[in-house]
Symmetry: C2
Subunit: 168 residues, 2 copies
DNA sequence: TTAAACTTTCAAAATATATTGAAAAATAAA
DNA sequence: TTTATTTTTCAATATATTTTGAAAGTTTAA
């Protein structure tokens, strides 16, 4: 397979994966494009390559910057902005984990906390089941949270190395 | 907080979380409802409680069964079907991990495999960057895959225990 | 059989999400 | 300042996803 076809396929696959994980497809595709581009690209180039509008490109790039996956770059003597993606997959994974924790896990833990204070009659099966489920989900979420905490602090080698030492 | 309000809040929160992770909101809500219900419910009861149509309830329940999260139950002398969710959070997590791996990670690994065979000129920066990115993403995906493999085989205690032993 | 109870299907409608594109705003050189 | 360039905004539009509901299908009991 030649490069242009391979690039196209990767951009498509990354976009599809993103949409399966609740990430806007275009955002995943812009990220994919930047991941395989050696140099920073202009909005214009991104619009061109992915056939998307200026507005879409602009918003998507801001989102990617908000996720900490892309950075602006300016070049000396140039008016326009260039965009560049961190290509270190460990950084990417950590950044995504960090943001999703903040946006989704933290609020969920808060809700579970609130819900665990529900009042009711211990003899009521509906009450007992509710409490048990909430408690168990809370424990799982807590474990996930602690693991993410560790992951965020860790170096890549150490993290996977430790996992594999244990998981044989 | 009293039980009815708490139930409502949980169903809402679970639905929202689902939609952030690419799961149809209604599907997550039906799952939530069954998770906090001590007994198996009929389609009728689910429709009523969540104010959804028969068609929607039926399709959603089939999906949940397809994900291995819900089971049909029949009661002696009854015509209609009852639906029941496994309440063990470890089973739920494993089931979801297993299905998503099959549906998303496996196909992605296959694509990355194909793409790593791209032909090109080692002197071309676009080629070099592409190859490096694909290789690195492939390595990360491989590590995730191995970790999931271990998780799927493991008992809950062993899995988290091992994580924490290492992660202090 | 026949009929009642229940489940499934799926085209149409409703809703939600993403995208466009042109105007307005911001920025920086002349 | 004025002008040219670039970025941002956002109402309108397009697209994608979800939901409905009624008809068709299936199952069981009489």
């Amino acid at each position: 397979m030649e490069l242009p076809e391979a690039r196209q396929k990767f951009i498509e696959a990354w976009g599809k994966l993103g949409s399966e994980w609740g990430v806007n497809r275009t955002m995943a595709q812009v990220h994919a494009l930047l991941l395989i581009s050696p140099d920073a690209l202009t909005t214009e180039e991104i619009m061109e390559e992915l056939s998307i509008s200026r507005g879409n490109a602009n918003m998507t790039l801001r989102d990617l910057i908000g996720w900490g996956l892309v950075e602006k770059q300016h070049k000396a003597g140039e008016r326009k902005e260039y965009f560049f993606a961190d290509k270190n997959t460990w950084n990417i994974a950590r950044q995504v984990a960090k943001e999703r924790r903040k946006r989704e896990l933290d609020p969920m833990l808060k809700v579970l906390q609130e819900l665990s204070a529900v009042k009711g009659d211990e003899k009521n099966p509906a009450y007992k089941t509710f409490k048990t489920s909430i408690t168990n989900i809370g424990k799982l979420a807590g474990n996930v949270n602690k693991t993410l905490e560790t992951m965020l602090k860790a170096e890549e080698n150490w993290f996977w190395g430790s996992l594999f030492k244990i998981f044989k």
